[in-house]
Point group: C2
Chain length 402, copies 2
């Protein structure tokens, strides 16, 4: 169906606004002339759009920049706190919600434990989180809601198709939340959301492609291709945690045996650490277990850094298992930038080295050399920041300009 | 830089031509009114474009269709043989070239053995193939050249970055061939080209995403996402053959040990078959080896179909090894349609069943259920047809319409 002239005009306007905003966002502060040059839009169009932005507070003039011959131009910048977004991370152990500004800075954070809740309680908790966050903000500056959750999520329709930990199946959470709040709502799988956050907020080189591998209680990858989340045909792209990689492996909570999650998740690593503690009474891990009754990832990391050999073996073995999976990702995707996120990143450099070594050893040489595997931000908020990034890229057209 | 009005006009014209041509190609024969309805273009624009197509012979009027009330409309269809393309498959054992029509039908085929040639000889062979094919066609109807080759290929610049079998490194074959012939030339890795062929010529449901896994002497995947070849950051996406999957495996020709190729390539399977023949004097494979001195994939297939147990074990083991790799593809990409191509497809249904079974057993249930793994066309020309498909989608805008 051909577009009506009006729709076309509105679309052009929205495209121009997105273009100007992302130029100011990634290249600002900038003069109107510079924005015109960078975007290819006319001075008049840029001035109109910037005028609107200044009137609505999303941008402001910050005085004159250096002169390039004539009168020094007025510089314009995005006002980072002029709009806030609500980000939610529906984690397995807790729901976290935050008000986040346009640069991905958390302005207010609320957390609710969720253990033992059923699907109905879980939804009530989501509503409560959002109500708390809205009450703590100037309602009119909230752009919308972004939600990250484990499981299979249909991001286009805003439907959680399957989240086993929350007892949710085919829950149209997007519609439920936007009907209740009147705010645009975006929902994505947690690893996929986190990938979008790395892409928008932690991507100085503005790589168009990026893979985020999130390893915590669950294991999943988020794939950004050409600045957009890649979902696959059934919103399952990157669901590598339940691919069987060990023959005759241990049982996974998905019901199968030997899934990647059974050897690389935080749970699996901590189990290994406890076994190592039990088997080596002189190890630092044994002392921790004796003292506190439980070992954390931070304990394993500090024991490793202090030179404890059993701890180091646990870390290296975990890193190698993930490295093997990442070699698979390199062969399939050949995406140069791979970011490790999630609680397991706390294992630090010994872990990263093992991941890199194994991924490289198992990949085609030229591809391995081109690939950079890095630890992402240790930030616990990567999922909610990612959900917010998804919202912002969609609502504001904030896709990085190269 | 803003586009000039002239460039914009020419671009619009090319876009409209592509839109009309692919509508006729995928939905034709169709009336001008129907094309206008399907494309959203005005009747006038469609009539202009169709007029040009008829004048240049790429389309023709084939009489009147059924009336829908008024005067019965004139139907227009693409003339499949109005343009030919040159497709080349620079295979490891032979170079094959063909003249191919717009529907992917081979009109003329030439083959040259290549064993033992160096890079210089190989290039001379390519020139000879093209000269032969051009001599056998009306030169003015040849659209261009499409080339498929093993190795890493920079399709955007037309450079073969690395083709170990041909002793080529950073060879700008695209420029060499287009300078020599004056024809637009496209070059892609063989598996990637083959994927594009499946997409354009063997995709009745017009799936936007598709993975072709080509298993012959080499092993590689071609990934089509949203109607376009996905290359990765260094044109290595789908290069799964040299991912190490066996600890302490046998040496691969890439120099590493235990690559996927060492257990799934035709060479590996035939080695297994010979070992099985040697170990089972009563097997059909032993009889073949005794009689001819060598076993072919066809021999293994027919022995399996005749109920020979050692042959069946070889086939099932090969299928399982590939199924394991495909489970990895499913977890990363979640692309529903996976097509098996290459000489190993000759192993038939017993092989396919083993691939499917293992891929499904190792994948997340919901994703496995959604995935369809099929044997592609047994056609030996899948690579050259794919190279031609790449050329056609780029030069004619022949991306399937949904």
């Amino acid at each position: 169906v051909p577009l009506s002239a009006k729709a076309t005009h509105q679309q052009t306007r929205a495209l121009n606004q997105g273009l100007v905003l992302r130029t100011l966002y990634h290249h600002g502060p900038a003069s109107r002339a510079e924005v015109a040059r960078l975007t290819g839009l006319t001075r008049t169009t840029v001035s109109d759009v910037v005028g609107e932005f200044v009137a609505t507070g999303i941008a402001r003039e910050i005085g004159r920049g250096p002169s390039t011959g004539g009168k020094a131009p007025i510089l314009v910048e995005v006002v980072d706190d002029s709009r806030l977004t609500i980000g939610l991370d529906l984690g397995e152990r807790a729901f976290t919600g935050a008000l986040v500004n346009l640069r991905g800075v958390v302005r207010h954070l609320v957390e609710i434990p969720v253990e033992g809740r059923d699907g109905h309680d879980a939804l009530a908790s989501v509503h409560r989180l959002i109500d708390d966050l809205l009450a703590g903000s100037g309602r009119d500056i909230v752009l919308g809601i972004g939600v990250g959750t484990p499981g299979l999520v249909d991001t286009e329709r805003g439907v959680i198709r399957w989240a086993v930990n929350l007892d949710w199946q085919d829950l149209p959470l997007g519609t439920i939340l936007s009907d209740r709040t009147g705010l645009p709502t975006y929902i994505a799988n947690d690893a996929r959301a986190a990938a979008m956050g790395e892409y928008l907020f932690a991507n100085p080189a503005r790589d168009a492609n990026l893979v985020a591998v999130k390893v915590g209680l669950g294991v999943g990858a988020g794939i950004v291709l050409d600045g957009r989340l890649f979902h696959g045909d059934d919103f399952g792209a990157g669901e590598i945690g339940h691919t069987v990689v060990v023959d005759d492996g241990v049982e996974c909570r998905c019901g199968r045996f030997g899934c990647l999650e059974t050897i690389t998740s935080s749970r699996a690593i901590l189990q290994e650490a406890e076994d190592a503690a039990a088997g080596h009474v002189d190890s630092a891990l044994h002392a921790v277990l004796d003292g506190t009754g439980a070992i954390t990832l931070a304990d394993v990391a500090s024991a490793t850094n202090a030179g404890d050999e059993p701890a180091r073996r646990v870390v290296v073995s975990a890193g190698r298992a993930l490295g093997r999976a990442i070699a698979g990702l390199i062969g399939v995707l050949n995406v140069r930038r791979i970011v490790l996120l999630g609680s397991v990143s706390a294992l630090g450099d010994a872990y990263l080295d093992a991941v890199r070594d194994e991924a490289s050893r198992r990949s085609l040489g030229t591809l391995a050399k081109a690939t950079e595997i890095v630890l992402g931000r240790p930030d616990e908020d990567v999922v909610l920041l990612g959900a917010v990034a998804l919202l912002m890229t969609r609502e504001l057209g904030l896709v990085p300009v190269r």
